[in-house]
Every structure is written in structure tokens, then in C-alpha cells.
């Protein structure tokens, strides 16, 4: 077996084992072990470069604060998400798939390497500097271009070591870390013994005339934030090997914040000492030791530092090579390491990486700060410390993190905006401050805060929340909706915007509003409206203008559009067909504070554009509140968007009648039946009659598509669930009986019979009543159940069983609260109707809902039961059994 084959196999194995979750029993590292490993990673010759860079900015005391406190502050925050790596034994690159999507993660990986790998060019530069300086000390003059040859030789040797694979790298690391420690100790001893202590302690940099000390201090803090934040890439794979979250977290913090920072300070001491002795600030430990002690010490250190730089370059190529290999599985490890080598070589040829060290640091931080913010917010505030591991690993059938063809657009946009935000504050190349106030936060911290807040706010928008939280089932919010919460008044500043929105929504349909008996009627009063479609919510505010109002809304709307928006619009959340005493109290509060309370008493959209029976409770409520009762009968809303096909019909025309039917004086005098009679009379409607009478032409070719949901029974063969619809036709699947829907909403049979749609609908109801009376009615089917506990998310309740008979409903499901498979009973007399959907949100298909005080259960058919699940028939039975027709 060839050596080449061995290396490839080793790397394949490393990639495979390197991505698998590490089981708790396999974890190797306690706190000390992890600290040593991470410290080893953080100690490199670039620490000296960082130290000498800081010494050009601030005095020693401020330098200490920056190196230790700034580093620890940033690490304490951005290392927190490391907890997830430890908990699940996964590295950060797996988790990032949830933030960016699997394909987005590939792009982020490349960006991280692009901004991170210049560190290794710094190593090569240091190697070349050391060689040149020391040879110079021995009087050896080098030819032009020797510096480049030396730095490239570091790249070549480092790459060759990396290509030899895991074994060679392990040995390199074992030698490298002690060597670097040895050099560090030597630098500390020489640095502190060759110049008086107070020279270092009281050191202040010689600043140019226009330099601002405060700006320099901020740059010092920024450099330390950037220094620690850009090292996360290489450190991301270690925490998953830790036994406890605490050890992984603090090892990360102290590995960089204490050990790494110590070597930064050592570099600064060395630079200050060299400046004191020679008047020149250097970042080369070999030159310092040769100058401040003896050339022989310099020569010894040369060998150490030379090997250390080559070793660091090799380890870096290996780590990032493996990281790339785990992302780009089809490309060979060898090719990836060579690409990395070429990238470093290009940076060496450019030759200005040391000169632009601060710029490179800040550019790196421009990427890392938003990245760290996204991880932080995603972990703690959005996913609430839970991840769908199977989706993160893209196991078959687990696609929560696929997002948009593998890209999480929201995460990627936040990253890009966070990057841009840093540049708005500070130009790291030219060193120009664009915004001094934000600059005081440091570009890294400002970008961190900006990105984190942006991502969090975006996640509050319902559509975006649903997009990024496709893994809600892993950690759903189970808190029940607070029905008792006092509803705010409709936001006065929100109102003009709402009117504008409503106006825009109705404008294509030429809304006309007529008002009757409304002279002198001022809030508070009660409005009962007809309920046909979502258009009702646009028409009602316009009808009640200039007054503001409160509305009762099903909780589902809160989830769909967001609780904040719904509250601003003055909505009171409730669940349908439950005895909600909190709602009654809130209605009374609204009236008491002098507002309008709008109620849609049918509590469901009209299935075929006709009204439902109203119950006496609405009249009793009016008598209890002792305020005028106004009805709002809206016509055309159903025609514009019937519940059985939510596509908008542009030909529809809207009309609304707002009428005071009971005055404040009358409400106390009239009986419940009299009040109910007046309300029912005004809220009687037939949308197809309205269409025919007003000759409203709706000529969309697809105008009958979906009509088979409410008209499910064949008029000819009498079979249930027999109908299907397409274009402008509704047809029986069994006997072929077919009807054409004309442009005025009438159905025509082939024999010339004309059918009024509500007649067909009511004709079906009679058969259901008969089935119940004869004891033949029973539905017993498997269903898929989802619960809506609040305005935040649905909770999966698995596959259950749904039974409806003369006793009412019985629902079997996985109760997420008790974590048991349970059965809930809903007595027939407890509900006068139920909520139905024909194609929920235009994509989830037909469903019915049942509610308790703390949950609304959305009940969908399974593949097995989809042919016998018809919301209309279930509704007919519910209404009859609930006493609505008795």
C-alpha cells in the first residue's frame, strides 16, 4: 500500500471521525487538558507581532488592559456558544449549517479561510525576518529577493509536512508547543533583565502629532477583540472533546485570554525593550535575543523560531485542510492543502502582510464579529439552546436546515450587513474613522451588537421566524397564550398606516360603504360583522373610520402575522368555540374605556357565501354591555376570495352596510330574542344572490377550482366525497355528472338545470342530519395533529385518531405537555360549530380545529384518511349535534 494512499485514508478517517458527534463516554478532555491544547494553539510567533503592534498604539498599562481584559471580555461572550459544541459533541462547522444552510456554510467556510489564513503568511514573514536578521548579525549579506525566497521556503516546508498527514502533524505539535514555550520564557527573561522594570511599566509610545490617545486606546481594544475572535476558526474543533460544558467554555476563554494574551504581552515587552536599547521597535524574538543577550542565544533561538514558524504553518495547513475536506468532500486533501499553500505564497509575494497587520486583523474581525453574533443569538435567543442534529448532519428525511436550496438567506444577509456595518464605522485599510461614536464601541463590538440585534429582530417577524425556525419541533415554545392580557387600544400612530393599507387592499374592488341610523352614534358601541374572508379585516376599519376599534381574532392570526402587529391593530386573541370568560372581561374593558368592539359572531368564514345561524349569546352580551349594537354586512368579500380557493378574483365588487340596529336606550328594554332577531336580520346574506342581482362578472378560468370542498356530495349518484373540480367545472369522480360555473356564479348541468350553490350546500346538510338521527353517523379516522399553544409556534402532536359520533369528538394524540399519548373528549353540546379550512394557508391542505383553553389542535387527514376527511361534512354534523339547528 502506497504512502499516498495511507495519507488519504488517514484524512478520510479524520474527516469522518472528525465530524461524527463525540459521545459523552468518548470525551477525553477535562479543563486542564483542554486548556493546554487550546493554549498550545494560541501560542505562536504571531503573538509577538500582535504585542509589538499594540506597543505602537498605547502605553504598557493600557496595553495590559487590552491584552487581558479586552480579550477575556470578548471571549466570555463569543465563546458561550461553544457550550453547544460540548453538549452535542459536534464542531462548530456542523452547527453553522443551521445558521447559513449547508451550501451557505460552504461559502462561509471559504470566507473564514480567506480572512484567517493570512496569519500563516505572518509566520512565513517572521521566519524570513529571523533568518535575514541573524545572518546579518554574522555579517552575511543576502541577495535581493532573498526575503521572498526564505518566506516561500517556509510555505513549501510547512505544506510538505501538512501533506504527510496526521502522524507527522501530531509529532510536529508535540515538539512545537514546548519549543514556543521555551522561546517565550527566554524572551521574558531577557526582556525583563535587560532593561529597568520601570522603563517597561511607564512606557508610552511616541505618537505622531495628530494622533489621538483615545482613538489609539480604542484601536488597542479593537486589535485584541479581533485577535481573539479570529482564532475561533482553528479552535472550533476542540471543545467537542471536553467532558463538561464548563471545562470547554473556560478552557476556550483562558486558553486565549490568559495564555495567548500572556505571549502578546511578552511580545510587547520585547518590543519596548528593543526600542529602549536600540531605538527601534521589532517583533522578531531572535533579533531581540541576539541584541539584548548574546549572539549564541540568538542563534539557538533562530533554530527554535524557524522550526516554530514552519511548524505553525504546517499545523495551520493541516487544520484548515481537514476543515475544507469535511466541507468539500469530493476534492482530495492533497489538492486542498496545495491550494492553501498557494494562497499563503501569494500573500508572501505581495509582501505587505506585516505592514497591514492591523488592517488584516480588523478585516478578519469584520467577518468574525457578525459570525460570532449570529452564533450567540441563534443559540441562546432563537433556537433556545436546541439543535436538530439530524438535520444539521443532513440525514435523509431531515431537511429543517435546507432553507432555500441549501442557503439560509436570512443568516447570509445578516452576515453581509454586519460586515458592511463595520466598514461604515471604520476603514481598516486607510485607518479612517467614519463614525466616531460607534467607533468608541470598537468596530468589532459594534458589528457584533448590530448583527445580533438585527438577526434577533428579523426572527421576530413571523414569516422570517418560520423560515429560520423550521426546526421548531426540537424546542417549541409551549407557554400557553395569555388570553387574560388586557388588550391595548388600537395604536393611534399605527391607525393612519392601517387605513392606508386597507384602502390599498380594497381599491381594486371599488368598495362602497352605506351607513344607516348612524347619526349621533359614537363609541363605545358593539359591532357585529358578517364574516366571509380576510377582506373583512380591511373593510371594517374603513367602515368605522374615523374611530379606532378592537377586534376579536383567532390565535392563529397572531401566529401568522405576529403578536406585536396584531396587538397594535387592537386584536384580542382567543380560541374558537370555547367558553372564554377572559374574553368577556376584555370585551367589557374595551367598552368601558370608550372604544368600539368588533365581533364576527359566526366565528368562521362563510363556506358558500351564506350566513350561519347566530346564537342568543350575542344578544345577551349586548344587553350586558348596555351599548348600541351596530351591524356590518359586507358583500363581495366572499366572491373576491372564497375560503375554498384563496386566489383573488379581480372581478369582485365590494359593498358594505353599516347600520345601528339597537340604540343604547333600546338595548335595556328589548328582549334577547328581539335583539337577536334584529341582528340576524341584518346579518343575513347570500353572496351568489348579490353577484347575480348586481351582475358581477367573475370570469377567471379557474373560478370553480376548490368548489368540491364545500360541495362534496354528488347530486346525481349521491356519493359522499365524490366531487372534484377543475377550471370552471365541478364533476363527480364516480358517475361523471358535471356542472359548469358561469361568470355570475350559477352552476349549469349538461341537461340545462341551473343550480344555486348555497342550495346544493344546504341539500347536503339534510343528509348529514338524517345520518345522525338514524344513528348512522360516525367518523373514525387516523389524523395528523398539530397544537397551537400560543402566538409563537405550532407543536407537532404526531399521528392520532379522530372520532366524531353522536357524543361529540374524541381526539387521540401525543400530548406534548405530558409526553404521553392521550385522548381528549369534546362533548357534542359544548360546540355549536367548528373551525374548518379547505387548504390551510394555501399549502397545508384541509383541516378542522378543536380547542381547549390552552391549545388549538389542527387536525389534518393522513394519506390513509384523506379521501374520507371532509371539513364541511364534519362541520354539518357538529352544528347539528351542538344544537344550532334544533
Amino acid at each position: 500500500m502506497s504512502r499516498k494512499h495511507d495519507v488519504n485514508k488517514e484524512i478520510e478517517n479524520e474527516v469522518y471521525c472528525g465530524t461524527l458527534p463525540v459521545l459523552p463516554k468518548e470525551r477525553k478532555y477535562g479543563f486542564i487538558d483542554a486548556l493546554l491544547v487550546l493554549s498550545g494553539y494560541c501560542i505562536a510567533t504571531w503573538s509577538y507581532t500582535q504585542g509589538s503592534y499594540l506597543a505602537t498604539l498605547v502605553g504598557f498599562k493600557q496595553l495590559l488592559i487590552g491584552a487581558f481584559l479586552a480579550a477575556i471580555f470578548m471571549l466570555m461572550v463569543y465563546q458561550l456558544p461553544v457550550i453547544l459544541s460540548v453538549r452535542y459533541g459536534i464542531d462548530i462547522w456542523i452547527w453553522l449549517r443551521s445558521v447559513f444552510g449547508p451550501k451557505g456554510n460552504k461559502i462561509v467556510t471559504i470566507i473564514i479561510i480567506l480572512v484567517n489564513f493570512p496569519w500563516y503568511a505572518v509566520c512565513c514573514e517572521l521566519f524570513a525576518d529571523s533568518m535575514e536578521n541573524l545572518l546579518g548579525l554574522f555579517g552575511i549579506q543576502l541577495f535581493n529577493g532573498a526575503h521572498l525566497v526564505l518566506s516561500l521556503s517556509c510555505v513549501v516546508v510547512g505544506t510538505i509536512i501538512a501533506l504527510r498527514g496526521v502522524g507527522t502533524i501530531t509529532w510536529t505539535t508535540r515538539i512545537l508547543v514546548p519549543l514556543l514555550l521555551l522561546v517565550g520564557v527566554a524572551v521574558v527573561v531577557v526582556g525583563f533583565t535587560s532593561v529597568p522594570m520601570d522603563v517597561i511599566w511607564n512606557y508610552q509610545p511616541q505618537l505622531a502629532g495628530d494622533a489621538d490617545k483615545t482613538v489609539n486606546y480604542v484601536l488597542n481594544i479593537e486589535a485584541n477583540f479581533a485577535f481573539v475572535i479570529t482564532l475561533v476558526g482553528g479552535m472550533a474543533e476542540v471543545p467537542r472533546l471536553c467532558k463538561s460544558e464548563k471545562s470547554g467554555y473556560y478552557a476556550g476563554v483562558l486558553g486565549q485570554g490568559a495564555a495567548g494574551s500572556f505571549f502578546v504581552v511578552v511580545g510587547a515587552v520585547m518590543a519596548i525593550a528593543m526600542q529602549y536599547v536600540t531605538g527601534q521597535m521589532v517583533d522578531d524574538p531572535t533579533l531581540m535575543m541576539a541584541t539584548l543577550s548574546a549572539p549564541i542565544l540568538g542563534l539557538s533561538s533562530l533554530l527554535l523560531v524557524a522550526f516554530a514558524n514552519i511548524g505553525t504553518q504546517a499545523v495551520g495547513s493541516y487544520i484548515y485542510g481537514v476543515m475544507l475536506k469535511s466541507t468539500f468532500k469530493k476534492i482530495s486533501y492533497k489538492t486542498l492543502v496545495l491550494v492553501l499553500g498557494v494562497y499563503v505564497a501569494i500573500l508572501c509575494v505581495w509582501g505587505k502582510i506585516t505592514e497591514y497587520f492591523g488592517s488584516f486583523l480588523t478585516i478578519g474581525a469584520c467577518v468574525y464579529a457578525p459570525l460570532a453574533a449570529l452564533l450567540f443569538v441563534d443559540f441562546f435567543l432563537i433556537r433556545k439552546q436546541k439543535l436538530d442534529l439530524k438535520s444539521a448532519y443532513e440525514l435523509p428525511g431531515h431537511n429543517a436546515y435546507r432553507y432555500s436550496k441549501g442557503f439560509n438567506i436570512v443568516g447570509i444577509i445578516c452576515l453581509a450587513l454586519g460586515f458592511g456595518f463595520t466598514l461604515v464605522i471604520y476603514d481598516p485599510i486607510q485607518g479612517i474613522i467614519h463614525n466616531k461614536i460607534l467607533f468608541m464601541l470598537t468596530p468589532t463590538l459594534a458589528s457584533f451588537i448590530f448583527t445580533g440585534v438585527l438577526y434577533l429582530l428579523l426572527s421576530k417577524i413571523p414569516g422570517i421566524r418560520r423560515y429560520i425556525r423550521r426546526d421548531t419541533y426540537v424546542s417549541p415554545d409551549k407557554r400557553p397564550f395569555d388570553r387574560a392580557k388586557v388588550p391595548p387600544r388600537q395604536n393611534i400612530f399605527f391607525l393612519p398606516l392601517m387605513w392606508l393599507l386597507c384602502k390599498m387592499a380594497v381599491s381594486p374592488y371599488k368598495l362602497k360603504i352605506d351607513k344607516y341610523n348612524m347619526e349621533g352614534i359614537k363609541p363605545p358601541f358593539l359591532v357585529y360583522g358578517s364574516h366571509n374572508s380576510f377582506m373583512d379585516f380591511y373593510v371594517t376599519p374603513l367602515a368605522l373610520k374615523p374611530y379606532r376599534a378592537n377586534y376579536i381574532s383567532e390565535l392563529e392570526g397572531f401566529e401568522n402575522f405576529g403578536e406585536w402587529i396584531y396587538r397594535q391593530a387592537g386584536c384580542l386573541g382567543t380560541r374558537k368555540f370555547i367558553n372564554d370568560q377572559s374574553l368577556i372581561r376584555n370585551i367589557a374593558r374595551v367598552i368601558k374605556r370608550g372604544d368600539i368592539m368588533v365581533i364576527y359572531p359566526e366565528a368562521r368564514y362563510a363556506n358558500v357565501g351564506t350566513n350561519s345561524h347566530l346564537t342568543p349569546s350575542i344578544a345577551k352580551l349586548a344587553k350586558m354591555l348596555k351599548v348600541p349594537v351596530v351591524t356590518l354586512n359586507m358583500q363581495g368579500n366572499y366572491l373576491q376570495q372564497p375560503i375554498w380557493n384563496l386566489k383573488e378574483r379581480k372581478g369582485a365588487r365590494l359593498h358594505a352596510d353599516l347600520k345601528c340596529v339597537v340604540t343604547a336606550e333600546e338595548v335595556t328594554k328589548l328582549s334577547v330574542d328581539e335583539i337577536l332577531g334584529r341582528i340576524s336580520k341584518e346579518l343575513t346574506y347570500d353572496e351568489y344572490k348579490y353577484q347575480l342581482d348586481n351582475k358581477i362578472v367573475i370570469d377567471d378560468e379557474w373560478r370553480a377550482e376548490g368548489l368540491h370542498y364545500p360541495l362534496y356530495k354528488c347530486r346525481k349518484c349521491g356519493k359522499d366525497f365524490a366531487m372534484t373540480s377543475s377550471g370552471s367545472k365541478i364533476t363527480c369522480k364516480f358517475c361523471g355528472d358535471s356542472y359548469e360555473m358561469d361568470e355570475l356564479g350559477q352552476l349549469h348541468s349538461s341537461s340545462g338545470e341551473v343550480i344555486h350553490i348555497p342550495d346544493w350546500y344546504e341539500w347536503q346538510r339534510g343528509f348529514v342530519h338524517e345520518e345522525i338521527r338514524e344513528g348512522r353517523y360516525k367518523l373514525d379516522i387516523p389524523v395528523r395533529v398539530e397544537a397551537l399553544p400560543n402566538s409563537v409556534n405550532f407543536v407537532d402532536c404526531g399521528i392520532g385518531r379522530f372520532i366524531q359520533d353522536n357524543d361529540g369528538f374524541s381526539l387521540e394524540f401525543d400530548n406534548y405537555r405530558t409526553e404521553k399519548h392521550e385522548t381528549l373528549k369534546f362533548p357534542a353540546k359544548s360546540m355549536v360549530s367548528l373551525h374548518t379550512e379547505y387548504d390551510y394557508r394555501g399549502k397545508f391542505g384541509p383541516c378542522v380545529t378543536l380547542s381547549t383553553y390552552d391549545d388549538t389542535f389542527f387536525i389534518y387527514p393522513t394519506e390513509e384518511s384523506k379521501d374520507v376527511f371532509n371539513p364541511t361534512k364534519i362541520q354539518f354534523a357538529t352544528e347539528y349535534l351542538g344544537g344550532l339547528y334544533s
Partner: protein, 51 residues
């Protein structure tokens, strides 16, 4: 397929360990200590402006 099975069994094992509280989680006290250290570091950084 072998990889998927190995992966799935590992994930299940970790999730079971999590459900049974067998993982060494950060405690509330650990978070409080972390918050205190963070606050002290921040105060130190702010103090640095006055040096």
C-alpha cells in the same frame, strides 16, 4: 448508509443522555459567574480610558 446508521445511533445516544440529564451542563451559577467576570472585564476596559 453505514455512516448514516452510525451517525443516527450516535445522535440518538446523545439525545437520550440529554433527556436523562446525563450531560454536564452549565449551571445557573456558572452563568452568573460568567456574567460577573464579563462585567468586571468591561469595567476594566472602561477604566482604561482614564489612564
Amino acid at each position: 448508509m453505514e455512516t448514516d446508521k452510525e451517525l443516527e445511533s450516535r445522535i440518538d445516544e446523545i439525545l437520550i443522555a440529554e433527556k436523562e440529564n446525563k450531560l454536564h451542563r452549565m449551571t445557573k451559577r456558572d452563568y452568573i459567574i460568567a456574567a460577573i467576570i464579563t462585567a468586571i472585564s468591561l469595567l476594566g476596559i472602561i477604566g482604561g480610558f482614564f489612564l
